[in-house]
Symmetry: C3
Subunit: 315 residues, 3 copies
């Protein structure tokens, strides 16, 4: 995608050399030829040290651009970014890819749809009604139960079990907003990567990343109705009990245990070996590992128990 | 459906002329030849001014009937109403309708089921495992991801995106109850109407109306696991974050923002531009627009924050 | 399955006669030739009176075994039990069973998968995208909406309605844990039994039992997004409003009413005719029938209302 074509789509002028862009990415991770974006003085330092050479920025950031950068000055960077993501969105189905590769001893029901470009390992089971999108990878010995949906470009590790009704790789929930209150879709061009030995219960939803990957690490176990938003990272051997939701970009360390109907805000960092009792509402990062927490607002479990006693005495 | 046939099914006598009934409807909306119902003196005024001419009523309401009405006096109007809805329920699948119409440039996977009578616009994508029920309308440019289910008679607007696992038009949750504790189904004979530019995440459920339509207005965006009950009306450009539920017949104005795991009781009226933080529990209507609310019981957000501080100090 | 083969798989020695085992079961219910397990002195009495003759036990329980028992002494009984369940897990699909039997007047969409051994009664509707697993029974007049999944060996009664996206019989969420924090699957070898006249909304999940059956009794009605964990027992004519979850092995008596977003811990016993208002969090058994409860921690509804008033006054 030529940067000049992006500029034309956004109806702005491109400043600097035209570039052949590969993709989009967030500022901290963008490589050369990955279009990125920044708005406001607080990004001046990370902007000046960015590895990218293609930017959508607010006018006050021009002086902080790295040398030889090409850029577009936008009135509303967030909105222009959203509009640009559409240009980088892959097709829903990649008919041009070669036929799917299916490993030895795998069983694929004739009522499952396997799109082109999929790579399915050996001894994999894909049951009726499952959908395996374009260029999806499924590694050895994994079981995909009926009516599972895996969107294009996602990766499921070896020895995984994905129960029926679970959706892997639907779009993360991301929009920019116009002055008149419409919501403009930020196309979610990343994917989901599920490592080995993960089991996911019935009717879960693991959203694809806006850029890069939503990641479920090795050995984690999810009960039914778990919502994992875009760009989350779930540590090894974590446990999520039913009807729990994790907000976008939140990262949990290994061996966290999250009880039922809990929820996490977005952009949190949770220390490993943290335990959360039922209906915890987590809105702040946790730095120290090994704690047990409860309540909303969240507090240490012992404190929460004591507080409930105090509250009961009000009556 | 002859009114006399309804009377026979309910095992009651019909008073007045026999009528050919078209459907059923609630008292306030019923037109002539739409069977409606009322129980108790508080409905005497709306009964006397009803446009309908066919009623199921409690005996104390006979004197308030409009002139020339036909009616049945029921011991338990709610129960008789439920039993009557069954007679008006359409078949699960309408085999008699003509073959579905598919617009230009649309892609329908051969593993999707499109029932007769469906009307699909141009440039629509219907992926594998999707179910498009009898007489469903899907307008131009809309994307139906794999394993979406759209029940009969529902309407999806243009430029919509419906993610996998979402169910549009399943029966609303409505029952009448017998004296011995059984629950008698109120057949849900309405539909769902989704306007243009709506995006619905993975594994949502938007229930069909008992009569008339459940309505999602233009530009609204729903995250994953959103539950919208029968006869709700969601205003334009609303935002619902994951795992939120809206009770039956509740109406939200435009540009409401509802954060994750929130819930609304049924039969509420919520002013436009209202914002609800995570896990709000809304049990009363809101008249003034533009407020921000939290907690269960619900209160203004600032008040809730202050209260949480006070509660923490109890410990 | 020979007990000696189990011992070999667990890498332990078998003490006593080799036996041909039929299955596994919990201690209180195990019959002869059903492998069972116990750990810790508190099980000494139930162990000595067990009807089984095949045990995985901790070393301190040897003296409490019934006469002539065969057994394996395990360092970590829970872990060995989990490893043993894998040996008793049936295949995902039973290709050897005879073709499904379909009763008179039933409609099975050609896009539904009916596995071998299924028994479908008369006047049943199975719509497109539904999956009916091996040896599933569906009784007369039941409606299975599109994209429903019923795992192998489950039973659905007569006159039931199962809405789209609902998953019946996915694995319960059960794991044993290693010293280094991995989770070892306890294979869920039981099933789900749904009695007559049950309606289940869209996108629900009713998990199969680890041993024996998860049971939904006659006439119960479930709204959307209901989570019923393994080995639950739901009494007759119960009502569950949307987004409610019930923890493993919890039993509710008849005619309970559970409002939206409520949750129950596991292993509870709830008296019949109990009512729970929205978002109840139930962590203790309830012995007296007919009460109304609210809150988390749970209390009587009247008490909860009074307490909310007191809390509001803190502000």
């Amino acid at each position: 995608m030529l940067f000049s074509k992006v500029a034309h789509h956004l109806d702005y002028d491109l400043v600097g050399d035209d570039l052949e862009l590969n993709s989009m990415n967030e500022l901290a991770l963008a490589l050369p030829f990955e279009l990125t974006f920044a708005v406001g003085k607080k990004y001046s330092t990370s902007l000046s040290s960015s590895n990218s050479n293609a930017f959508l920025i607010s006018s006050d950031l021009v002086e902080h651009l790295p040398k030889n950068a090409s850029y577009i000055i936008c009135d509303n960077v967030s909105l222009s970014m959203a509009q640009a993501t559409k240009l980088f969105a892959p097709k829903l189905i990649d008919f041009q890819s070669p036929h799917a590769e299916i490993g030895d001893e795998s069983y694929i029901d004739t009522m499952a749809r396997i799109e082109n470009g999929a790579k399915i390992g050996s001894n994999v089971t894909v049951m009726a009604g499952a959908y395996i999108g374009s260029n999806v990878t499924i590694k050895n010995n994994t079981i995909i139960y009926p009516n599972v949906t895996i969107y294009r470009d996602c990766v499921v590790g070896a020895n995984c079990i994905i129960h029926s009704g679970t959706i892997i790789g639907a779009d993360g929930f991301g929009f920019s907003h116009t002055a008149t209150g419409e919501h403009i879709k930020i196309y979610q061009n990343g994917n989901v990567v599920i490592e080995d030995d993960v089991e996911i219960g019935a009717n879960c939803a693991i959203d694809r990343a806006v850029f890069n990957s939503t990641l479920i690490k090795k050995g984690s176990k999810l009960d039914n109705f778990i919502h994992i938003a875009h760009n989350c990272e779930i540590g090894e051997h974590s446990i999520f009990v039913a009807q729990t939701g994790i907000g976008g970009s939140t990262k949990l360390g290994r061996n966290c245990v999250v009880s039922g109907q809990s929820a996490f805000s977005d952009h949190l960092d949770i220390a490993p070996f943290s335990t959360f009792t039922a209906r915890s509402g987590v809105t702040k990062s946790i730095k120290e590992s090994g704690g047990t927490y409860s309540g909303y607002p969240l507090m240490e479990h012992r404190e929460w128990r004591r507080l409930q006693g105090k509250i009961a005495k009000l009556n």
